[in-house]
Subunit: 336 residues, 2 copies
Amino acid sequence: MANIQDVAKAAGVSTASVTRYLAGQRIRSEEAVRRAIEELGYRPSLVARSLKSGRHQSIGVIVPDISNPFFAALVKGIEREVRPHGLQVILGNSDEDAEREEALVRELAQRTDGLIMAPLSENDEIPDLLAQAGHPLVFVDRETSSGPDVDRVLVDNTAGIRQAVDHLVGLGHTRIATISGRVDSTPGRMRHEAFLAAMAGHGIDVDPTLVRRGDFREESGRLHMADLWRLPQRPTAVVVANNLMTAGALVALGALGVRVPDELSVVGFDDLPLATLLDPPLTVVSRPDVEEGAAAARLLVERLHADEHVPTAHVTLPVELLVRGSTGPVPKGSPA
Amino acid sequence: MANIQDVAKAAGVSTASVTRYLAGQRIRSEEAVRRAIEELGYRPSLVARSLKSGRHQSIGVIVPDISNPFFAALVKGIEREVRPHGLQVILGNSDEDAEREEALVRELAQRTDGLIMAPLSENDEIPDLLAQAGHPLVFVDRETSSGPDVDRVLVDNTAGIRQAVDHLVGLGHTRIATISGRVDSTPGRMRHEAFLAAMAGHGIDVDPTLVRRGDFREESGRLHMADLWRLPQRPTAVVVANNLMTAGALVALGALGVRVPDELSVVGFDDLPLATLLDPPLTVVSRPDVEEGAAAARLLVERLHADEHVPTAHVTLPVELLVRGSTGPVPKGSPA
DNA sequence: GTGAAAGCGCTAACAG
DNA sequence: CTGTTAGCGCTTTCAC
C-alpha cells in the first residue's frame, strides 16, 4: 500500500503539500498530486490519522443482543441520524456478557469519538470510567446508577406497564402474573417495580408465586411460562417484560395447548415484527424504537460538535399500549 | 490519558521495559511497573499499536441489513467462533446501500485484520480490490462474480427452492408464483433461477405474470403479493425468496383476508423466529444460519493464523424444507 | 504557497 | 535483562 511519501515523491512535492491537497486547500501542483494519488491508488491511513489527530470520524454503539429486533431498530435510528454527519457507526454486540461488554467498551472507546450504549446492568462501572475520562457517552434504553451524570434516552417504562395492568384489571383480571427481565438492568427494574406499583394501585395483593424473574431471553420466557401454568392456582393473565420472553412464553403456551386469550391473557412489552400475524394477534406495549436510537444519536452528535460544555440531557419517550387479540375477559369459573 | 512514557518515568525504567512487561516477558522491575500502570490507570493505545504493528486484533463483518434475523444469527455464529481467538468483532451495517457498503469496506479494511462480508451485489468490485491487496476476505451467503477467487460459505439455494417447488407440485399446484430477491445478488439470482429450473423440470410452463422481482425487503413482499392477488388468474401457491418478503406477503394476505393455505399455499425461504406461532405455521426452507457464520469465521481465522498460502475454500451448507401449515392441496375449482 | 522537521504512542532492532 | 533509538504514516507548526 502506497503511503503519503510515495505520493509526494511521485508528484515531486513535499508530504505537507499532499496533506494540504487532501484537506482541500489550494496548492500549485494540484494536478501532479491528483495524478500520483490516482496512479498509486493511494488511500490515507486512517490509523495514522487517528493517532495524529485523536479523532476517528466514527462512533461506537454497544448493545446487549443484536438479534433482538428492538436493538436492531435502535441501531437503524442511530445510523439514519448519524450518517449525514459523515460519521461511521461501528457496532458491538455484548451478547449479554459482562466481560465481552467491557472488552468492547475499552476497544471502541479508543477507536471511536463517542459511544452510545445500553449497559447490561445498572451496576456496570465501565461507562462511568469512560465518562470521567471525558469520552462522550450516551445511554440508551438503559443506564447505570452510580458515577457521573450522563446523557440518556429512556422510554416511559412505568407508564407502559401501568397501562398494561390497567387494561387487564379493566377486563376483570386480578390473578395477574409477570415475567420480569434482569432486575439489575434499568428496564428490568423499572418494569418490575411498575408492575408491583400498578397492582398495589388497584388494591390487588400480588401472589408472590406469580412474580417471576426472567433475564430478557426467549428461553427464560418459555421456562417461566411453563412454570406458571403448572401452578395449582394459575394466573388468568400475564405481563411479560420484553419481546423475546414474550415469544418464549407463546411457544410454551402453544406447546401446552393453552388457548389465548380464553384461558390466559398475554401482554408483551415491545412490539414484535409479526405480532399482528400471530394467533391471536399480540397485545403489546409499543415504543418508538427507531426514534429512541435517533434521539440518542442526536445527543451524541451535539456533544461531539460542541466547543464548550453541554449540559446533560435526559430524554424520556412515551410508550403506547396496542390492544390486539391476546387479551380478553377473565375466564368463567376463575376466582375473581 | 497516561502514555507509556509516563509509566516508564514513574517506574524509573525505559519504555522498552514497559513494553516487555506488557508482552508478558520477565523484567527486573516488574513490581514497580505494575504499580505505575495501576496508579496512572494506564491503557496502551490501540491506535498506536495498530500503526506500529499493522495488526488490529479484530475482524470486520459487513451485512446488508442487521435487522434481518438471518444476518443477526450469522453474526452470532461468527462471534461465537472468533471470541476464543481473542479477536473483537466489529460490525458494519450497509442498510442495502452500495455507497455505505463501500465506505464500510474501506473503513473496516483499515481497522481490522480481515473481513467477512455478504456483498450487496454480485457486481460489487470493492471486495475484489481488497482481496487483491491481500486483505483477508471471506464471503458469506453472497459473493461477487468478477475478480479473484475468494473464500466463501454459501447454502444450497438451488436444492432448497427445488424442494419447495417439488413439495408444491406434489400437492397438485401448477400455478405457482415466486417473489424473487435482488437478482443481482447471489441468493436472489440462484433462487430465482432455481425456481424456473425446478418448474421446467416438472414440465410446467411458468406464467411470466407470476414471476415477480422483489428486493428482499418486507415492503416489496407486501406489494408483490397484493399485485399477485389482483391478477385475473391468481396463483394457487407462492414461493417467497426470503424471510422479510415472506413477512410482507403474509401481511398483505392478512389485509386481503386470504385464507392460507385454503386459497393460497405459501413457502418462505429462511425460517422466522415465530414461524411456528403464526396462523397457520409457516412452511419454510430453513438453513443453518448460525453455523453458516461460524463456518465463515473459521475460514477467516485459519487464514489469519496461516504463515503460508492457504488454498481458497468454497463451502456449501445444506438446507432443509420444513413443512408446516401454510402449504396444502390445490383449492377446488382451480385450473389444474 | 512551500518544505523541513517534530511528534502522536507504541514496538523492535540493536548495542550494551 | 536493559536502555537508546528509529520508525509506523500522518498532520502541523515553523521558517522561508
